[in-house]
């Protein structure tokens, strides 16, 4: 097991992503952050807090559960549904930023785009992730990346948040080949 991002680096990455989001969208006026539960939702809340401390006004931040749109439902036992909370201004004509902890096959994001389409028609959809580990199976890329982490398919990336796990860290574990 190796530590890919210790807590201070993780915080720096989140700060940089927040600045990039503000730069790309000329401020926080038009943006809506939607985190994909569970850890994407915590990451979205961190980014929202960071944006608030930079801009001095509250950011629109919610969660988007994608379970009902997954393409692998039939391959696993039924999953529990997670909460979807859409902030007050909705998604219609907003610059929606999907937030997830790890970008891997891209299938979660495809499902998120479908789930988002059910709710409304955003002006743009952007993607922010803490770790991009490669191995895409779909033509999807992230707009904001905390760290590019080349991995082999057998490795396991673990993202931990203080709120859930008691510490902030991204670790890389060797799985069984």
């Amino acid at each position: 097991m190796s530590l890919a991002l210790p807590a201070p680096d993780m915080d720096r990455a989140i700060t940089r992503i927040s600045h990039e989001i503000l730069e790309r969208n000329s401020g926080s006026e038009t943006i809506t952050l939607l985190g994909i539960p569970t850890r994407g939702a915590h990451l979205a809340a961190r980014i929202a807090a960071k944006i608030e401390s930079i801009e001095g006004k509250t950011a629109q931040c919610g969660t988007l559960d994608i379970t009902l749109h997954r393409d692998d439902l039939r391959l696993r036992p039924p999953r529990a549904l997670m909460p979807t909370t859409i902030p007050s201004l909705g998604v219609e004509n907003r610059d929606v930023i999907l937030v997830d902890d790890v970008l891997f096959s891209g299938r979660t994001i495809r499902a998120a785009l479908d789930a988002l389409g059910e709710i409304g028609r955003p002006a743009t959809v952007q993607l922010a992730v803490l770790v991009d580990r490669g191995h895409r199976q779909l033509p999807i890329r992230a707009d904001y990346v905390g760290k590019n982490l080349p991995t082999s398919l057998s490795q396991i990336i673990k993202v931990q948040f203080t709120e859930l796990d008691g510490l902030d860290a991204v670790t890389l574990e060797e799985g069984e080949a």
Binding site: D65, L68, H69, L73, R74, L75, R76, P77, P78, R79, A80, L81, M82, P83, T84, D114, G117, E118, I119, G120
Partner: protein, 315 residues
């Protein structure tokens, strides 16, 4: 969980999982796009060998909102009325590739029989079997109670429920007693002695013959339909007397706690077990029960059909 045959089969965490799933799905039903792709390509058969309006339509709406294909099959106008056996019917449905069969039957245990005999590989959902059980109704009732009366907390601990009327013939009462007590509620059954089943002492409930005494102390008053079609003998002297002692009317409504709600599984005999003004009063959540019915049934279909089952035979 492969089948939903009886509340007795459900563990408390499973029951709460169904209610929590329904809670999330209700946000979808409230949204602008009501259809989800989750069960695309799955075939669900509504096998109704007994009359029903809301349960059949409710399951059909739930299945369609999850994009499943629905085949409706009622006993009238099918080979069942020519005397086809349940086995032959089930094997026919299996040959047509049904992923789930929702069965309503006048014989208690019909759903269990369908599930036990392995005539089909799909899921079996009991939508009411004789006077035995009606699990999806109990789940939607528990969901309605939780939404109206429980703030924080996922079970029904401390809620007091009165179930009033024809307990003897009621599968709704049986399923509700099992589920509500499982979730921590206290249930009091109110009925004339002739409409209580034998062995009621064994049930985890209180029993009262005095509706007026009970009504002031409960959070939920659940009225049951007098089931004339199942009554082959006289269970009470006349309708007027029944209404007087066991009907919900304006005077009794006034005795209820300020926050208490009125429920009825439908169809109602207005004027017999419930007066029209009670059924339409601000306390009544009877139409909410219908709306919640679709959501809870979506949750049931999702949990039974969306994933592979642990046994790994389905997929």
């Amino acid at each position: 969980m492969r089948h939903l045959l009886s509340i007795a089969d459900l563990t408390t965490p499973q029951a709460i999982q169904i209610l929590d799933t329904a809670e999330e799905l209700s946000r979808v039903s409230d949204g602008p796009m009501k259809k989800l792709p989750t069960l695309r390509g799955r075939t669900i058969v509504n096998l109704f060998a007994e009359d029903s309006t809301r349960t059949r339509i409710s399951f059909e709406a739930a299945a369609k909102r999850l994009s499943a294909d629905v085949i409706n099959f009622s006993a009238k106008g099918s080979s069942v009325s020519k005397g086809e056996s349940l086995k032959d019917t089930a094997q026919t449905l299996q040959a047509m590739g049904a992923d789930a069969v929702i069965i309503r039957h006048s014989a208690s245990g019909a759903a269990q029989r369908l599930a036990d005999n392995e005539w089909m590989t799909g899921s079996v959902i009991n939508a009411g079997d004789g006077t035995h059980e009606h699990p999806s109704q109990a789940l939607l009732d528990a969901f309605t109670i939780r939404r109206n009366l429980v703030h924080g907390g996922n079970d029904l601990a401390g809620i007091r429920v009165a179930i009033v009327g024809d307990i003897l013939h009621s599968r709704v009462a049986r399923s509700n007693v099992l589920l509500l007590t499982k979730l921590g509620a206290h249930v009091t059954l109110v009925a004339p002695p002739t409409l209580l089943p034998t062995g009621i002492e064994e049930w985890p409930v209180s029993v009262s013959y005095d509706f007026d005494e009970v009504i002031a102390n409960v959070d939920v008053v659940m009225m049951l339909r007098i089931q004339m079609e199942r009554m082959s003998e006289l269970f009470f002297p006349n309708a007027r007397e029944y209404s007087h002692y066991f009907g919900l009317n304006r005077d009794r409504l006034k005795k209820m706690k300020p926050s208490a709600i009125v429920m009825h599984p439908g169809p109602m005999n207005r004027g017999l077990e419930i007066t029209a003004d009670s059924a339409d009063s601000a306390r009544s959540v009877i139409l909410q029960q219908v709306t919640n019915g679709v959501t809870v049934r979506m949750a049931i279909l999702y949990l039974l059909l969306a994933g592979v089952q642990e046994s790994g035979v389905q997929g």
